[in-house]
Symmetry: C2
Subunit: 207 residues, 2 copies
Amino acid sequence: MSNNITDHTQPSIEFWFEFGSNYSYLSAMRIEAAAARQGVVVRWRPFLLGPIFQSFGWSNSPFVLQKAKGAYVWKDMERQCEKYDIPWRMPAVFPRPATLPMKVAAAFAEDPWIGRYCRIFMTKNFALDEDINTWEQVGEVLAGLGLDAPVVLEAACSDARKNCLREATAEAQARGIFGAPTFFARGEMFWGNDRLDDALAFAAANQ
Amino acid sequence: MSNNITDHTQPSIEFWFEFGSNYSYLSAMRIEAAAARQGVVVRWRPFLLGPIFQSFGWSNSPFVLQKAKGAYVWKDMERQCEKYDIPWRMPAVFPRPATLPMKVAAAFAEDPWIGRYCRIFMTKNFALDEDINTWEQVGEVLAGLGLDAPVVLEAACSDARKNCLREATAEAQARGIFGAPTFFARGEMFWGNDRLDDALAFAAANQ
């Protein structure tokens, strides 16, 4: 098995997620380390859940619409974060708006800083309970990564890249994605943070 | 830790399930062995999902109503059954009607044969693709367990026991159950076959 990231025979996993999704948080925080242990490359695939939910006739997250499920989910998150040793604070706003940082993520999903970038926004939302959707908030994160924030933000909103997030969301829908996180390994779909390990094992078994 | 089932200090887990639920099948087939390994007693709690789903405004299982999710679930079941080494055949009817065997299960949920009884109906539904809802079909299973089938069936439909299933379903709803399987351990709710091991560990940690 090769450790060369440009080796196209190296197994890979597609990680479809969004910053507003709490179960995506659990996967975002651990996927790169877990994938590296299996020799699997992560392809970060940001998309918006809102349009997917709307296509089912839902006006919001099922965790908001179904009260009993919603009440359970926050208890589950507390226990899951403890299990994985990931910090957790119940967000005051759920789902937290994140279209701007998601737009940047979609526009630069192949860049080497994408994993660090995503973990910062996930941490802000689900561990620090901070808003993340303004030009200033995103710019600060980009600058913290050593990037030229205005250049990156303007590029994400340019004609060449501004539709990346919309196109990714359409692709998610076309491929039958109905929630997040969702993984694809060797053409098979795995849904939910609870399937991350199965998906990685399936990806790695290709060698 | 005591192995005496009448010892009320022994940890226990409530297992809320229904015969029509495919993810309940995964738990029903393995819960007693898994619980025994942890010194935990299983309390079988049959209930009907239909009235719970109706209370959300759903006319059927979400796996039927949401086409993308439904398509995924059968692939997931295939992989999960392989992982747990449990037989699997896609049922021709989903969700398969099972009110009569569920009524018997609710009426005799504390009897020592309940685990074997439930595994037979789960196997018929999800491994053999057989119908399970007639007086004859349920009677045959009871007789196979060495029981007096007509006596058991009539007792399950008697004034004393005929409301057990309805009462269990009302209790499920009152306790915030929104799907199956659901487990309760030391007062905490755990939802889904993916949480069975966590729930058992939590139950056992009480000692």
